[in-house]
């Protein structure tokens, strides 16, 4: 009797239920007996404060998924295995995910991977397409679950879109009035019209990640706190670099370093990379996933970079105070000096 072994990577999406349903159904069509491996890949390792909460979420998701499989399987012969992957390493991008799935598949004799089209591990952006490319490269068979996504759009559109429109409108209206005269009726009217056009046309572009009504304003406040800290860092670094440049012997020590940062791709990573570049003495040359290639001019700047002060500050801005207390890149072995070949 043939056994079909399926690997189903889970993440908390609206389509995860349908994906599990499809996995069970398609598996039972191909063989009499099904072994369904439900896995959650954890993006962060134990060194990161939020990993404990993520682990709880993962366990919760796995137990729910187990119930779904039992429900769909009915009387059929289905064995369920659950696992969390990647707990001891930090997953950077699609390649890392593809590799841990491949390792697991090799160990368990998996026939096929069933992917959720909305698959989104952790807080990073959706990685389905690059993940599929990596799976192709590795040669692991996969199948994308056909799901109905209209339910998701229909249900969430209202409040999410309103938040984006409202935020874009208020930001552009505020900016218009700062440039104009907030007490003059003409500016108030034209400002509202312009902000309306901007909001309608650019809201989706401006906020690619859905806004949170509580968290997003808090982040703005935290960012305002971050600015004085950044300015202070810039002044310090400027003085250090100026001293080196003006000294006749010019004791520079240019090095290329590679730092694996622990912030999400997108806005947080951009903020971190730009802050690093903004402080003289460190210059971000490349950013691939969360791996930054940084050129440093003087040893003091390199030490500051490895101490991760800016990284902690960015984590404070986007994730809150507890998340800021992570080991520095040097302590967690994520910072190293590399040669010019890494370019």
């Amino acid at each position: 009797m043939a056994v079909e072994r399926l690997l189903v990577p889970l993440s908390d999406t609206v389509t995860v239920r349908q994906t599990v349903g499809y996995a069970v159904q398609s598996g039972l069509e191909r063989a009499d007996s099904l072994e369904c491996h439900l896995v959650v890949a954890l993006p962060y390792d134990d060194a990161v404060p939020e990993s404990a909460r993520q682990r709880e979420d993962a366990d919760d998701l796995l137990s729910r998924a187990r119930n779904w499989v039992e429900e769909d399987a009915g009387d059929a012969d289905v064995t369920i295995e659950t696992a969390t992957l990647g707990a001891d390493e930090y997953l950077f991008g699609p390649r890392d995910y593809a590799e841990i799935f491949d390792d697991y598949a090799a160990a368990q004799g998996i026939d096929r991977v069933v992917l959720d089209p909305e698959y989104q591990p952790g807080v990073t952006a959706r990685i389905l397409q690059p993940l599929e490319r990596e799976l192709d490269r590795i040669g692991l068979a996969y199948d994308e679950a056909p799901v109905e996504r209209s339910t998701r759009r229909g249900r969430l559109t209202g409040s999410e879109d309103f938040d984006r429109l409202f935020a874009t409108f208020m930001v552009s209206y505020g900016f218009y009035l700062v440039l104009g005269d907030p007490t003059y009726w003409f500016d108030l009217v034209t400002g509202a019209a312009v902000a309306g056009i901007v909001a309608v046309s650019l809201a989706r572009v401006t906020f690619s990640v859905p806004l949170d009504r509580v968290q997003s304003p808090i982040r703005v406040v935290r960012f305002a706190l971050y600015i004085p800290y950044l300015l202070w860092e810039i002044v310090k670094a400027n003085i250090a670099v100026s001293a080196v440049i003006l000294r006749p012997s010019m004791p520079i020590e240019p090095t290329l370093t590679q730092v694996d940062s622990r912030v999400r791709s997108g806005l947080p990573l951009t903020a971190l990379a730009n802050s690093i570049t903004l402080t003289p003495g460190t210059l971000t040359v490349r950013a691939t996933d969360q791996r930054l290639l940084v050129h440093t001019l003087i040893p003091a700047a390199r030490e500051d970079l490895f101490d991760g002060g800016l990284e902690k500050a960015i984590r404070f801005v986007f994730y809150g105070r507890e998340s800021a207390a992570i080991p520095s890149p040097r302590e967690r072995d994520d910072a190293e000096i590399v040669g010019g070949d890494e370019l």
Binding site: N274, P280, L283, I337, L343
Partner: protein, 127 residues
């Protein structure tokens, strides 16, 4: 015309000298940055110091301008101007460094104490 009181006179003097000092610092950091661009060995190192003009050079100069305008609407513009300089400067610096890396410009690197690093460096230089 109303005679200015002594306090107003001193405040005006303080403000005048504060503006002079701020502009002086702005010019100083711009000068340092120029010296750096001339002295430093390669494009990556120069990109570091070029950003000094934008951060502290423009920063101090615009702070002086804001102070000269005093408490009026135009001062807000200078703060906004600085804000946009701070957003665009790292983007431009990164674009320059990245395009240099992509066209295969080898960075001049210091000889490191560790053997494997220096081996990697010399290997990079001989090619």
């Amino acid at each position: 015309m109303i005679e200015p009181t002594p306090l107003q006179v001193t405040l005006e003097t303080v403000r005048f000298w504060a503006i002079v000092v701020l502009l002086g610092l702005g010019v100083f950091f711009t000068l340092v940055s120029t010296v750096g661009v001339l002295r430093l060995p390669d494009i990556y190192a120069r990109a570091h110091t070029a950003s000094q003009t934008d951060t502290l050079g423009a920063g101090f100069a615009l702070a002086g301008v804001a102070l000269a305008f005093g408490w009026q609407h135009a001062a807000v513009y200078t703060v906004l101007l600085l804000f946009f300089v701070f957003i665009t400067n790292p983007t431009a610096a990164h674009a320059i460094a990245r395009s240099a890396a992509e066209t295969g410009v080898e960075p001049v690197l210091a000889e490191e104490g560790e053997t494997d690093e220096s081996a990697a460096d010399t290997e990079g230089e001989t090619r």
